[in-house]
Symmetry: C2
Subunit: 209 residues, 2 copies
DNA sequence: CTATGGACCTTTGCATACAATTGTGGTGAG
DNA sequence: CTCACCACAATTGTATGCAAAGGTCCATAG
C-alpha cells in the first residue's frame, strides 16, 4: 500500500499490540502524524482501518485504544474454538509443500529458543504468530483471512503465550509439530482435532492465570 | 460519525449491496465524491472502511467492487453454520422479554405477507433481516456484533431469501417461530439446534438453485 | 504486422489550510 | 457554595492543490 499510510498503520497497531498504547488511552492524529513524520491525512486512514478491526473505538469524535472485557474474551475464545480448527482442516486440504517448510522452520526456531537456559519469549511469540498466519494463508480463503485476524489481533491474545510456563510452551510446540504431520498427511480431521486441543489449552491458560 | 464520511460510506455500501455497483467494477474516488456532493477526503475514508469489510478490493492503486467466488461463499456458509447457532444459544441465555416481542412481531408481519396471494418478497427480506439482527443484539456481545455482519453483509447473502419458493419461505417462518419458543424457554441447546437447521437449509437453497 | 519505447492522461497519495464540533474552565447569578 | 451558561481551547472533519504512480495509446523501428 501507500508508504506513509502503511507506516502509520503499522506504527499504531504495533504500539497497541505491545501495550505501548495502553487500552483506553486516547489516540490523537497529530501525535501519530508527528511520530511518523507525516501529515494527519494518512494517519486518519490508518485509524479508520484499525477502527474497522476493532482495535480502536470512537466516542463522538475522539479515538481510544479499545478495552476488552472478560466477557468479550470469552466470546473470542469460543469463536476461535470454532474457526481455527476449520482453518487447520482447510489448510490440510490445500497447503503447498513450501508452506509446510515455513511451518517447520518456525517450529525449529521455536524449539531452539526453548532449549536455551533463558528462552527469549518474544522470539517464541514471533514464531508462534508466524505459524498461525502461515496456516491461515495456506487456506487461500479470503473469508477466513477476513474473519480470523479480528479474533486474534486482540491486544491480549498474541501475548497470552507469555503466561505459559516451560512445560506449557513445550506442549504447545509438540502440538505444532503434530499439526505439521497432519498437514503433510493431508488429513483434515486430524489437523482440526489437534487445533481444537491447542486452542482449548490456550483458553485454560488464559482464564486460569 | 462524520456527516459526509457517513454519507459516502452508506452510498457506496448500498450501491454494492443492491448491485448498482457491479462486482468487479472500478470505484473512483472522484465519482463518489461528486455523487455525494463532497470532496475526495471523506470518500477515501469510506473506501478504506469498505476495504476492511472486504466489500472493496485493491489492485495496486485502484479500487474495485469485490467479486465473491463460489469457494468464498462456501466458507461464508461454513462459518455461519458455526457462529449463528452460537448466537442463538447466547441469545437464549441473555435475551430480554422486549426483544422477544420484537422477534414475534417480525414473524407476524412475515406471516401476514406470506399469506397474501402475491407476497412482496422485500417485506419478507426486511423482517428476516430484522429477526436475525435482533437476535444478534440480544447477545449483547461486541465480538459477535463485530464478526457476524462480516459474514452476512456479502452482496448475495441478504438476497438469498429471494431464491426461496413458497414452501421454503413457510418452512423458514416455522423455524423462526420455533426459535422464539426456544428463546422463551431459555433453552440454548434447542435454540442453537434450530438455527443450525435453518442455516443448513439456507445453504442448500443457495447452492442448489 | 508486431513489438517496444515514451509521452500523456487518469487516478490516487499526501500535505496544508480552514471549518466545525466537542470538551473544559471560569465567571456570575441564585 | 453550587449550578448553569458562555467563551475559549483542543481535536477532528472537510476541502483543495499539487505530487507521484500506473495505465494507455500512439509512433516508430524491426
Amino acid at each position: 500500500m501507500s508508504k506513509a499510510g502503511e507506516r502509520a498503520y503499522n506504527a499504531i497497531r504495533d504500539q497497541i499490540l505491545d501495550g505501548t498504547l495502553a487500552p483506553g488511552s486516547q489516540v490523537r492524529e497529530e501525535d501519530i502524524a508527528h511520530a511518523c513524520a507525516t501529515s494527519r491525512t494518512p494517519v486518519r486512514e490508518a485509524i479508520r482501518r484499525l477502527e474497522g478491526e476493532k482495535l480502536i473505538e470512537r466516542d463522538r469524535q475522539r479515538s481510544y485504544v479499545r478495552v476488552w472485557s472478560e466477557a468479550a474474551m470469552r466470546d473470542v475464545f469460543a469463536l476461535r474454538l470454532m474457526v481455527e480448527p476449520y482453518v487447520a482442516g482447510q489448510a490440510a486440504r490445500l497447503i503447498q509443500p513450501e508452506s509446510v517448510d515455513v511451518l517447520r522452520r518456525a517450529n525449529d526456531i521455536y524449539r531452539r529458543e526453548l532449549a536455551m537456559a533463558r528462552p527469549d519469549i518474544s522470539v517464541i511469540v514471533t514464531q508462534n504468530n508466524l505459524f498461525h498466519e502461515t496456516l491461515l494463508d495456506a487456506t487461500g480463503s479470503d473469508v477466513l483471512q477476513m474473519i480470523l485476524p479480528r479474533l486474534i489481533a486482540v491486544p491480549i491474545v498474541p501475548l497470552s503465550l507469555r503466561r505459559y510456563d516451560r512445560p506449557q510452551l513445550e506442549k504447545a510446540l509438540e502440538e505444532h509439530d503434530e499439526l505439521v504431520m497432519a498437514l503433510e498427511a493431508r488429513d483434515p480431521e486430524w489437523a482440526s482435532m489437534i487445533m481444537t486441543g491447542h486452542i482449548h489449552r490456550a483458553r485454560r491458560v488464559f482464564f486460569e492465570t
